[in-house]
């Protein structure tokens, strides 16, 4: 068990915190001006992007010992759910945006 002090003297912590802070500002900047028509597709697209959690699921699954049934079962489930999030999310978003495309051409 390390102490809180140790946690805050760790260089890795700061490296990660830097990424976090920059990403927060980036996220705000990137979508601060968006027409309301795009709110739903944008939400759906962002929904697919947080499916990146699948990578964690793959690592859990890949590192599970072959007799660790708990990790195998939960990891397997996590891979399925994460994939659902990613694939379903991107496909749904594409379907929504496809319709915007169609009417653009007709215009």
């Amino acid at each position: 068990m390390d102490s809180i002090a140790q946690l805050f003297t760790d260089a890795a912590t700061y490296r990660l915190l830097t990424i976090v802070i920059l990403s927060i500002f980036l996220g705000i900047e990137v979508i601060s001006r968006v027409p309301s028509v795009l709110h739903t597709p944008l939400m759906s697209g962002a929904n697919a992007i947080h499916g990146v959690v699948i990578i964690g699921a793959i690592i859990v699954m890949g590192e599970a010992a072959s007799d660790d049934y708990l990790a195998l079962t939960l990891g397997f489930l996590a891979v399925i759910l994460g994939t659902l999030n990613v694939v379903g999310g991107f496909v749904v978003t594409d379907r929504m945006l496809e319709m915007f495309d169609k009417k653009k051409k007709r215009k």
Binding site: L16, T40, G45, H50, V53, M61, G62, L81, T83, K102
Partner: protein, 461 residues
């Protein structure tokens, strides 16, 4: 060094993807860019990931089986879902992501019998937020498709506060290793699940988009904790980006409805019927009905007709019938446009997507400001299953819960025809004075049937 490079590319595609998604012209490409980056990151992880001792991942058959099952089910679900049910689908996928984060934390908790404090914090927070997002999204999904009804929980806020306090206490006990009993970990899991349910349960249907957007950013944060756990930059950037972008999006949505986030969450909108007194105490007078035939004649001889769609149109799947009506009217020389309120339907942009499915030309859809400008020159306004977005109480009655929300000012038009199934108030549970105004006529019936009948009537005029 290949994997860090792949992760960097992944992060960049997420940023670019989000950026492109916020402009109509590049939106579709943006989605594909992000999807490409995601694929790259997933494939890279599978084949190039090494743990601290340099071992590569195992259990490939399991991983690929999971990926294949998830992809097939996800694609089928996303392709098959009706346009009207899109919001539910997004909520459901969001819940899957939350559950994934939750499961990862559970496994890692068991993997690390003696975790460092930092690691424990990350595991517990990832599990906590993932679980709230999961249970909350499932409730939101159920509410949107009507399986779960709105329900006010007595003393709901007090219970939520207690739950929160309970979670906090257990988390502190666990993290500071005052006790390391596994029941604490699972206690937090159970309370978090309950919290998610109670958090979404009382929120009214009209506010559901806001809640889904908020839960979406929760899942983003949960994914970011996974990034901390594995020291994985792409999970971190992807998760945090969605967390912050999602929060901003949530606030933008609230602004479109002119309500504060706090207001939505503590919510008097759907739960308590504060608006009831508005309708009840005031003399409402009577409404008048109009026949299909009269409607057809009125519209056929109008110079300009504006159609205002709402959730009723989506429920009745009447978008094609609506387009049909538009074509018949145009053949008769009537100018037809659609007035789209930013929050009409169950999600912002819901109506645009729906009408686009029926091939309604893009330039016929007018955003609220433009629609309001044209209102005075409009002969007939036909409101199909919309209610709160045309409720004059938003402008006139400071006591109304929707007071201050910008609305489509239909009263400026010459005639207002409202198609509804009955006189029941709208989703927000607020009486609508519009129905009792002298200009307004009611045309009762299912939107699809009424529109189809209207089309055949019009053909005979």
């Amino acid at each position: 060094m290949l994997l860090p490079l792949i992760y960097l590319i992944g992060s960049i595609t997420f940023i670019l993807g989000l950026k492109m998604l916020s402009h109509p012209d590049s939106a579709r490409k943006g989605n594909l860019v992000a999807a490409f980056g995601m694929t790259l990151a997933i494939v890279g992880t599978i084949f190039l990931y090494r743990d601290h001792s340099g071992n590569s991942l195992g259990n490939y058959p399991w991983i690929f089986a999971g990926l294949v099952i998830g992809s097939i089910v996800g694609t089928l679900a996303a392709k098959k879902v009706q346009m009207t049910a899109m919001p539910e689908m997004v909520s459901l996928f969001n819940g899957m992501g939350g559950a994934c984060a939750m499961l990862i934390s559970i496994v890692e908790y068991h993997h690390n019998p003696n975790p460092s404090m930092g690691m424990l914090v990350v595991i517990v927070l990832g599990m906590l937020i993932g679980t709230v997002s999961f249970s909350g999204s499932i409730i939101a999904w159920g509410k949107l498709n009507g399986r779960i009804k709105d329900r006010t929980i007595p003393a709901g806020q007090a219970i939520n506060f207690l739950l929160f306090a309970g979670i906090l206490t257990m988390a502190v006990l666990l993290v500071f290793s005052i006790s390391s009993a596994p029941f604490l970990f699972y206690g937090i899991l159970a309370l978090a699940a309950l919290y998610g349910i109670l958090f979404v349960m009382p929120i009214g249907g009209a506010d559901m988009p806001v809640v889904i957007s908020l839960l979406n950013s929760f899942t983003g944060v949960a994914a970011a904790f996974g990034g901390f756990l594995y020291d994985n930059p792409v999970m971190l950037t992807g998760g945090i980006l969605v967390g912050s972008a999602g929060t901003i999006l949530t606030i933008l949505m609230c602004k479109a409805m002119n309500r504060s986030l706090k207001n939505v969450l503590i919510g008097s909108f759907g739960g308590q019927k504060t608006g009831g007194s508005v309708g009840g105490s005031k003399e409402q007078g009577s409404y008048k009905e109009i026949s299909l035939n009269d409607t057809a004649v009125l519209m056929a001889y109008a110079s300009k007709v504006m159609i205002i769609p709402g959730y009723g149109l989506a429920v009745a799947q009447a978008q094609h019938a609506c387009h049909e009506l538009e074509k018949v009217l145009e053949d008769k020389g009537v100018e037809v446009s659609y007035g789209i309120h930013p929050v009409a339907g169950r999600m912002p942009g819901h109506m645009n997507v729906l009408l686009a499915e029926a091939d309604v030309p893009y330039d016929k859809l007018k955003e609220m400001e433009e629609a309001n400008d044209q209102m005075a020159q409009t002969t007939v306004v036909l409101i199909i299953g919309a209610n709160d977005v045309v409720n004059p109480a938003a402008k006139e009655d400071p006591a109304s819960p929707i007071y201050g929300m910008p609305i489509l000012e239909v009263e400026k038009a010459e005639h207002v025809i409202v198609n509804k199934r009955s006189m029941k108030p709208g989703y927000a549970g607020i009486e609508n004075d519009l129905f009792f105004k002298p200009k307004t006529s009611m045309l009762f019936g299912d939107a699809k049937k009424v529109l189809q009948d209207l089309v055949s009537e019009l053909k005979q005029v």
